[in-house]
Symmetry: C2
Subunit: 257 residues, 2 copies
């Protein structure tokens, strides 16, 4: 490995601190909700948080690329690119639920090397990379040892993600799993990294939704791929399966076929 992530970890934490400080005043406050072209909601909080992160990156890492949900792409052919979702779970955020998250991913030469999931209201932070493992608030965390679908705690965000045959596939998973929990967005993947959820299956995520997830899940001992078992990249369609173990991933892939 020809790079050292130590300073990047510290910077990612400062970026999350800045985003959290920008978000907190808006949580459970009166807030205008706008609709974007893709029909997803956005608020001043989403924008303020991404701006806070970008301000620091422009100042301290001017050569790095940025790929953000709210303010688009900048220099994304750079060696280091930051992939940002300032508030993943804006719907939950606007309902006053403290289960949204700030997502910060980092790629080196196109490969995801670091991922951070931050819940600023609860002061919960998951950070994973290939050099320092996966950590929840600084302590090592790992996925569960669940290998059987019938014993799995399965989570996914919303039925609207799934149409036609996919809806039937998810219903099969829902019926077979031990526990089914709806809602959660990226917070589900964070709980998977800590061993509290065993499986997450979702559809049509954007790159900024999942770029931060893979380094964390993999460092925690889990598996994260698309629905055909392929590694995720910025070219992925965004159909994501994350599992605590390879065995559970294979069992879930069989249900999805």
């Amino acid at each position: 490995m020809d790079y050292d992530l130590t300073e990047f970890r510290a910077l990612a934490c400062r970026l999350a601190d800045a985003a959290g400080a920008a978000i907190k005043p808006y949580f459970r406050a009166q807030l205008d909700i706008q609709q974007k072209d893709d029909a997803s909601p956005v608020t001043l909080a989403d924008q303020a948080a991404e701006r806070a992160i970008r301000d620091i990156l422009h100042r301290e890492r001017p050569k790095d690329g940025i790929w953000g949900e709210e303010f688009g792409q900048h220099n994304i052919t750079a060696e280091w690119v930051w992939v940002l979702d300032p508030i993943d779970g804006t719907r939950a955020f606007t309902c006053g639920k403290p289960v949204f998250a700030t997502l910060i991913g980092l790629t080196y030469q196109g490969r995801s090397v670091l991922g951070l999931i931050d819940q600023p209201i609860l002061s919960e932070r998951w950070l994973g990379d290939c050099q320092n493992g996966a950590r929840f608030n600084g302590e090592i965390c790992k996925t569960s040892d669940c290998v059987e679908f019938q014993k799995a705690r399965f989570a996914t965000t919303a039925p609207e993600m799934f149409n036609g045959e996919d809806r039937a596939r998810i219903a099969r998973l829902t019926n077979a799993a031990k526990i089914m929990s709806w809602g959660g967005d990226a917070y589900n993947y964070a709980l998977l990294a800590s061993g509290h959820i065993d499986l997450v299956v979702e559809k049509c995520l954007k790159y900024h939704d999942f770029a931060a997830l893979a380094p964390l899940i993999e460092a925690a001992g889990g598996v994260i791929t698309d629905w055909s078992g392929q590694a995720l990249s910025h070219k992925s369609a965004g159909d994501v399966i994350a599992a605590a173990t390879p065995e559970l991933q294979q069992a879930a892939l069989a249900y999805l076929r």
Copy 2:
């Protein structure tokens, strides 16, 4: 009114304290999940929390009735009856999500007079009754002034609640609302009482799931009925609609017809 709720409010808070103390050691711990006859999950935490509440009631209010999710009915023809759901949202609880709740309802001569929703991990408590209004952590709270469905934040727990034609009805609501948020269980009703969610629609709740909700929602200025607009009671089928305003309730009822 021929009764004073002051002491009952204090007692309800002590019951919730005891339940929270029983629950906390189990949150995000390794925990066996059993399935009940109705296929819903139960853990040692649910049982320990209800037992903690019942111990206090047996000691301090031996003549009162108890209607609990885990340990059944005791003397429910008494003047005062406590209706208990020690962990509403056991699925969320087993996934490590801090959005489950302890529900404590109190009826006087069959009428719901006090309701408490407690989230012990976040130290969040909603308490409502007809004499002291609705309070969140001691401060007065109220529902939003949302009257239009197109501006509403709509929440419901799980698509599995709805079958056949009901599923199409909920899809119509989901498409028409400004924001749709899945998951949440009783926590959604608590957020409605604080003005962060505008509408909750659910199906087939049990009496222990909704007995604590009506006194809180009504004291906060909202409306809660069944799907035909009738008041909820222990005889209700458990099809619940809760809205921030009467206008929004009427608009939602029209979608459900």
